[in-house]
Every structure is written in C-alpha cells, then in structure tokens.
Amino acid sequence: MSFAPSQILLDDEASEGALELPGADTPARPPARLLWQRVRSSRGARISAAAILALLLIAILAPVIVDIFGISGPNVRNAGTLNAFGLPGGPSASHPFGVDDHGRDVLARVLYGARVPLEVGILGTALAAIVGTAVGLAAGFYGGVLETVLMGIVDALLAFPVILLGLGIGDACRANGCAGGAIAPGLATVIFIVAVAGFPYIARIVRHRVRDLRERDFVLAARSLGASDGRIVSREILPSLLPALVVYSIVLIPAGILLEAAASFLGAGIQPPTADWGQMIAGAGNDILSGDSAWWYLVFPGLALVLTLLAFNVAGSALLGALGERRSRGR
C-alpha cells in the first residue's frame, strides 16, 4: 500500500537525518519554466493529464451521464433486478455494469463514486499542502524550540502507518464527529484524515528547502536591506519553493485517494449509502467471500479506482522526473 510516496522520501529524506551523507550536494532545482517544458514533452504526462481531466468531468457531470445512459440514479433500488434468492443481476442492456445486492445500478454508482475520491484527494491534499507549508516554513525559518516542537509532531505523525492513522481518526469521528462538530462524520472526516496523513511529508520537504534557502545569497541580501520576515518569506522563499511544492502535492493526491478508499473499505471512512468506490468494494467483497459470484460490482468500482490511481501516479512520476532529473552531464 503506497500512501507515500516513497519517492518523496527518496528525494528529500535521503539528504536528511539518519541518511545524511556528508559531502552530498543538493542538486539544483530547475525553474518553473523548465519544469513545465519537461512535463509537456512527456507522453505519459499528457495522457494522464487528459485522463484526470476526463475523470473530473465524469465526477461533475455524473447526473447528466446517468441521464444519457437512461439508467437509474445511484441510490435507486430497482425492482425486479434481484432474483428469488435475493441475488443481483449481471450486466444487461438496462444495467450495463449490472446491479448490486440492493438492486442499485452499478454504472451509476461507479460514475457518482468518482466524486468522493476526487474531492478527498484534491481538497485533502490542498489542505495538507497549506498546513505542511506553514509548519515547514515556521520550523525552517525560525528554527530553535519552535522547530524542535513542530518537527517532533511531524516525526511522530510519520511513525503511524497512514492506514492505521486513518482507521483511528475515522473511528474516533465516526459517531459524533470531531473537534466539537467542526469535522462531521463522512466526507469531512476523510478529508481531515488525508490532510493529517499528508501534511508531515510536505512539512519536511518545505523545512528542508527553507533551511537551505535561508542561508542563500539572495535571502541574505534581502535581509541586509532590512526586509521583514514576512517579505522575505513571501517574496524570496515561497517563489523558489513553489515548483517543488506543487509537484509533491500532486504526488500526494493518489496517496490520498488510496487512503480514502482503504479507510472506507475498512468501515472507518465514507458510510453507506453514499456511492464510493472503496465502500462499494467492501460491500461486494462480503458477498464474494460468501460464495456469491456477482463479480461485476467488485470489478467495476475496482477498475475505476485503479485507473484513477494510475492516472495520478503516471502524472506524479512524470512531474518528479522533471523536477529531480539532474542536468545531463554525460556519464
């Protein structure tokens, strides 16, 4: 299970802490323009970008698509689709992906099911990026006790296997929500989980870079001219941080989607009857394991999930390649 971006660990942790190799130099980071140029020239990046765009459209236009297909909505129990033993019917003209054990149309549920993963992946990661950047900036820029405390929290969070973190938070917030109702059960909880699990990665990367930048000439120059901390951060440090920040945030999105699906599968995330791929797979799994061979409502949501993760992973891999590739210098 790869929430994480071991690639991130490779790139940044490799030059930090226990892994600090004396004499290892930090490779120069390409400017945003060069990054964009490299990404555009990658076929994988173009295809995955198109796939992600299509996914977003499917999620937004799910009701329209359902209408076009002329199928019933995601929570409509279709009469007569279950046989005398209560077993669901397979793919047919009126239900292309078949129906599930409640007689609900699987295609409609797969289409609507794109909404939660994308919302959680994008919003959760955005939240993780914002919190992670703030924490990393504060720790890296001010150092001292603040840094020790913040990075202590970050390291502690990183010690938790993310799936168990999701299980724990999901379980704690499942009944009545969390933080005095600010985090309601369901969607908000899952977004919270993804943000909590993701921000430590961003924080570490940002802190690492900021510590590096803090001593660079252009920052020292700005400081010697009397620029305030806020101005140095917003004018000098954040802009040079931005390309890497965007890339690592995008790399975290599939991890967030996977975490959402896993938490929902384990019963600690999205609750029925909301259409959600992880939750659908859980339902199908129970039936499959009890000997029912209604493969369609296991296979279709799973394929949707795999293709979504693949699209984001290919995009992330292309972005990381563009960001990290050292300038060719022969062998």
């Binding site: 004499g23 060069l34 140029q37 490299r38 300038r327 060719s328 022969g330 062998r331």
Partner: protein, 354 residues
C-alpha cells in the same frame, strides 16, 4: 625536449541539456612529454575538469558528443571501446579528481581500494596488493601506513586526504598523471607540500603531468609549459617563462594582473572585468571579446584560431590583435600604465586578420 607521450588533438566534448547544447570542451590540443609538466590554467567553468575526464572516456554517455583524438603509445584512446580503455585507465594513465573524497568509494577501506586499483591491472595476490598499498601510502608521505590502510576514507584527517588520493592515482606507476586541481581548497603550506610531493614522484617515475588549476601561481611553480583555457578552448600556450615574461593574450594578461607576488612588474592588482561566458550561449567571434578592453567591432564576428606567434618559438595564441600591438600593450601594462584607449589602438589596427 623528448617525444610527447600523450598527444591530445582537437578534443571536443558537448552535452545535450534541456537548456541547450553545452560545448564544454571545444577543440583543444596539447602534448606532454615524459617527465614534463603541462599546466592548464583557467577560471571555473572553462572546461578543465571535462577535458581531464574526457581523456579517459569518462564523459561518454548518451547525451554526450565527443570528438578529436587522444594519442597514447600509438593508439587513439578516443576510438577505443570502454573495455579496452579501462586497461589503460589507472595503469599507464591515471587521473585525480579535484575533491579528494570523491576519488574513494565511501563504503570501502583505504587498503581495499588501493589493492583494487593494483589488482585491476596486475594479477598479484591479495597479500602482495596489500603490501603495495602500504608502500603507496608511504610513498605519498602518510604517517603510520600500517594503521591507516584499514580506515575508511572519511576517517582520514582532511590534511591527508589529498595524499591518499595521490596514492590511489600512483598505484601502478602511471606514465601520465592527469591531475584536476588536486590542491584546490588547500592552504598555501599544504599546497606547497603536495606540489613538492608531485615533483618527487615525477622525478622518480618519470611521469608526465597534466595539471589543471585556476591558480596561475601554481603554474609558475611547477609548469614546464602552460596552456591558458577560456570558454572550452586554449587561448594561449607557451613555455612557462614565455607566459610570464611575454604573454600575448588579453585574458592571460588579466590572469597575471590579478595575482600578487609573481615577480612581475605590474603596478597594481586588477581583476578581469565581467564574468565567464555562458557555456550555452557563447559570444560570437572571439569568445573573450565581451570582457576584452581591446576588442574591435570585427572581433565579434571573427573567431581566432590558436596559431604560432612568428619569431617566438613554441608560443601560440588565439588573438586577433597584431603581435606588435600586443607586445606594446603588455609592456605598457607591465610598466603600470592603464590600458590604452581604443582610439589610440585603432590607428594601428588592421581590420581583418590576414
């Protein structure tokens, strides 16, 4: 002077990068004879390191284009396959990088790496290789070699690392040593010791040395011949005395005028104006023209070649100025005068190189 042992002819190395083609080494030629020292002087980025690595094919790779010949013992090393080249590398021709620790693998002990260097070329027993390794550490003046042989490279005190790096390069008694600025970052005393050590080794083994440095003062101490490198090319090449007494290239003047205590009658230290050119968007014509106080309009278009200077044996320069004008300017600089104005030069300046 005896026959050259290494002869580099028109060596070129270009890298393809996202930002464009980097012409790191753009057709340089030199020779070096046994027991002689050639010092290649240039600013960082001039292409010294790449030219050093290119001799042993270390710059080869999918994004690299090479060219030219590297003649050694009747063979063109540039035309050899990697496998054949490795038989020469580290045996007859050795190389040292500029950062001592980067010569060593971080995870293996000193002795193992010295022994590996020996056994890569000679079928000797591990015990014999170890004895040889101890001998090498002694040769380069590392105290307590029996103990030092079992330490990891990073455990060596910084002062001994350069010596250990030399021991590794000298493992098989090379006929040619390509030294890429081995004294960079050393203080003046340590530098003098290393240079003296190189002298001793050279005398004992008859090694030809090609020494890259950014410091023309180092060249003054050890060079038999000096080549000045700028923007991937050699712009002036001459015997050491000629370079210091009668330099012909404005860049060489700049180097000499920016270093104290060379016994040259230059009145005051003057840095070279401007910065080294980009390796990707190189200036047209003479690469030095943007920084040259004597550049004419035509120098932006005409690319000077390294040519022998009439009447000065063994002295070549790539400059579009007339030899007698160059001599006059240098005499003036030596006497402490400011560079003459363009107008005063224009009257005697020919429009084009003949």
């Amino acid at each position: 002077m005896s026959e050259p042992i290494l002869s580099v002819e028109g060596l070129r190395v270009a890298f393809e990068t996202d930002a464009g083609t980097v012409h790191a080494v753009d057709g340089i030629s030199y020779t070096v004879a046994p027991g002689q020292t050639l010092v290649i002087v240039g600013e960082p980025g001039a292409g010294k390191t790449v030219s050093a690595r290119a001799v042993l094919g270390l710059t080869r790779g999918p994004a690299t284009r090479g060219g030219g010949r590297v003649m050694f013992a009747g063979r063109d090393l540039a035309a050899l396959e990697d496998g054949e080249l490795r038989q020469v590398a580290g045996d007859a021709i050795a190389m040292t990088p500029s950062e001592p620790l980067s010569a060593f693998h971080p995870l293996y002990r000193l002795g193992a790496q010295l022994a590996e260097a020996v056994r890569a070329h000679h079928a000797v027993s591990p015990a014999a290789a170890r004895d040889r390794a101890i001998g090498l550490l002694e040769l380069v003046g590392i105290p307590d070699p029996h103990r030092r042989i079992d330490v990891y490279p990073h455990q060596l005190p910084p002062g001994l690392r350069t010596r250990a790096m030399l021991a590794l390069a000298l493992a098989n008694g090379p006929k040619v040593l390509i030294a890429d600025d081995p004294t960079r970052g050393l203080d003046i005393t340590a530098q003098a010791q290393i240079l003296a050590l190189l002298g001793v080794v050279q005398e004992r083994l008859g090694t030809a040395i090609v020494y890259m440095t950014r410091d023309i003062a180092v060249a003054a101490e050890i060079a038999d011949e000096i080549a000045v490198m700028y923007s991937g090319r050699l712009v002036e090449r001459a015997g050491t005395e000629q370079i210091f007494v009668a330099p012909h290239h404005p860049y060489t003047w700049g180097l000499l005028r920016s270093v104290p205590h060379l016994g040259i009658g230059v009145a005051e230290l003057t840095p070279i104006p401007g910065a080294p050119p980009s390796v990707i968007d190189r200036p047209g014509g003479c690469h030095f023209h943007p920084r040259c106080p004597y550049a004419q309009e035509s120098h932006r278009r005409i690319d000077p070649q390294l040519r022998p200077i009439p009447g000065e044996d063994g002295h070549s320069v790539a400059c579009l100025l007339e030899p007698k004008i160059r001599r006059r300017i240098w005499r003036g600089l030596e006497a402490g005068q400011d560079p003459p104005s363009l107008a005063s030069l224009a009257s005697v300046m020919p429009e084009e190189e003949p």
